[in-house]
């Protein structure tokens, strides 16, 4: 069973982090943003439960 982020905590994260990157979250949007971000963070928890070893992901860059 995957851990699920607490929407109240996600709400606090939204309120505190968005201003730091200059992203005002309109009051009318806050609920939807928290709901969607909660889903994305839950997706992250799901990924964290599966070890993928030392998989390399550096993008190919040609100088």
């Amino acid at each position: 069973m995957s851990a699920h982020p607490d929407p109240a905590e996600v709400g606090r994260y939204v309120d505190e982090s968005a201003p730091l990157i200059g992203l005002p979250i309109p009051r009318e949007c806050r609920e939807g943003v928290v709901r969607n971000l909660t889903g994305l963070l839950a997706a992250g928890f799901l990924l964290a439960e599966l070890p993928v070893g030392d998989t390399e992901t550096a993008p190919v860059f040609e100088p």
Binding site: L23, C29, G32, G39, A48, V52, T57
Partner: protein
């Protein structure tokens, strides 16, 4: 002559059984008659189309080669640059942009092959959706039931073909946006291997797995469009420098020697019975009794969602900061949420992606073509928010990507084929191959079409 068959039309124009001008006028008349109800088009390029068609006629009259798609009307999702037209990408925000200075590479290649561009097509805003319920430009309607969505985000592209407006269109696919509407409208849709076709001049969404590709009413037309769009493009850093590998000449090869299996597990769950029956009918026709298991598809969807939201938001960050209310309410909150995804989560999703790609490569050592449903259910009603899946109420729109999202996530080539018969609403089956093996998909699709197992549903 079948006006919904691109290759037939081109041949008729080349032998002067009909002119390009007559063909274009007929297509424009169908658009005028049908589009008020379907709402596929956001721009119709009547004058330009007639000029292009007349040029084709001049080449024919002069005994010169007008190209393999001579005089074939086509239209493109409005995220493709069209010289002289503002590239909306389904948004109100972009409506204030300058017109595009030149055609997107693939649009230019189709026109160079003689095809006649008649307009630009509706889509979900910035390609972030599966239904083409666009608030700014109105919903596109499914030609087989106008109370239902056509799928998305390339909904205008699928509905324009299924509605008999044009025989050929272009779409883009990040998580299923060609395949889902192709399935729900009953036409063919190709999402090629990541990097096969140039994305240059197409508005991007999720840069890690944005693809472009054609939709058509026959396998032959799909191949004809795909073949002329192939080739390296130095203006797209993602476009692979591979030689052109024409698929049209291979359609008659049959399926001999191909190892075909049905994807099980995730790809056999959460679908309505008719969806799973459609896969079974295709498998039976192909003699495919084996099963193959791709692991961890729920995590693939999770990772794809994180990467898509994060990359999509980064592309629109300034507008999200300064004019959030100009976004479509259908996308706004999701983009804003994507802007707040922690970087570590994004990297974790990319690491999983590399792991998942290796697991899927192992599957394709044993199999050449996998069969999977395209969507778990047929077209939703416009405005439908939820659906019952296995007795559980789920958000309906994201579920449309249940079977498509894991496959585009790692750039596999896929054709969604429309299953013949069945209920009043179309369903699709995905043919999936290893990277760069589009030819195998075309061979299988052509065999299924020849045997009447799959067939496009196009309004006469």
């Amino acid at each position: 002559m079948n006006v919904t068959d691109a290759v037939d039309l081109a041949e008729a124009i080349r032998v002067r059984r009909v002119t390009g001008r007559e063909t274009t006028l007929a297509a424009l008349a169908r658009v005028s008659a049908r589009d008020p109800a379907l709402n596929c088009f956001t721009a119709v390029l009547a004058e330009q189309a007639l000029r292009d068609a007349e040029r084709v006629d001049e080449l024919v009259a002069a005994g010169l080669d007008p190209g393999p798609l001579a005089g074939v009307p086509f239209a493109v999702k409005n995220l493709f640059d069209v010289a002289g037209l503002v590239t909306l990408a389904g948004s109100k925000i972009n409506a204030g942009d300058q017109p595009a200075p030149r055609d997107a590479t693939v649009v230019g290649r189709l026109r160079a092959a003689g095809a006649v561009l008649v307009g630009a097509l509706n889509m979900d805003e910035y390609a972030f959706g599966f239904t083409t319920e666009n608030t700014h430009y109105g919903p596109t309607r499914n030609p087989h039931d106008e109370t239902r969505v056509p799928g998305g985000s390339s909904g205008g592209s699928a509905a324009a073909v299924a509605g008999g407006l044009v025989p050929l269109s272009l779409g883009s696919d990040t998580n299923g946006s060609i395949r889902v509407p192709a399935a729900l409208c009953g036409v063919y849709g190709l999402k090629p291997t990541y990097g096969r076709l140039s994305r240059s001049g197409a508005a991007l969404f999720g840069i890690s797995f944005d693809h472009v590709g054609p939709l058509a009413a026959s396998v032959r037309d799909l191949a004809a469009a795909y073949d002329v769009m192939q080739g390296a493009d130095p203006t797209d850093p993602v476009c692979a420098g591979r030689a052109v590998e024409p698929c049209g000449p291979r359609l008659g090869e049959g399926i001999g020697g191909l190892r075909i299996a049905v994807a099980d597990g995730h790809f056999a769950s959460k679908g309505e019975p008719a969806v799973l029956a459609a896969v079974a009918s295709v498998a039976k026709a192909l003699g495919a009794s084996g099963r193959a298991t791709i692991p961890e598809n729920d995590r693939a969807r999770a990772a794809a969602a994180i990467i898509t939201a994060s990359e999509g938001a980064s592309l629109h960050m300034e507008d999200l900061k300064t004019r959030p209310f100009d976004f479509d309410p259908m996308t706004r909150d999701r983009f804003l949420a994507g802007a707040l995804v922690p970087g570590a989560l994004y990297v974790r999703a990319q690491r999983f992606r590399a792991w998942y790609r290796e697991r899927v490569r192992e599957v394709f050592r044993e199999v050449d073509v996998l069969l999977a449903p395209t969507t778990p259910f047929p077209a939703l009603r416009i405005g439908q928010d939820t659906i019952m899946v296995d007795g559980v109420t789920m958000l309906a729109r994201p579920m449309l990507g249940h079977y498509t999202q894991p496959l585009s996530f790692i750039g596999l080539p896929v054709i969604s084929v429309p299953v013949a018969g069945g209920g009043p609403l179309p369903l699709g089956v995905q043919l999936v191959a290893a990277p760069w093996n589009e030819a195998a998909l075309f061979r299988v699709a052509a065999a299924l079409e020849r045997d009447g197992v799959v067939a496009a549903r196009v309004r006469p």
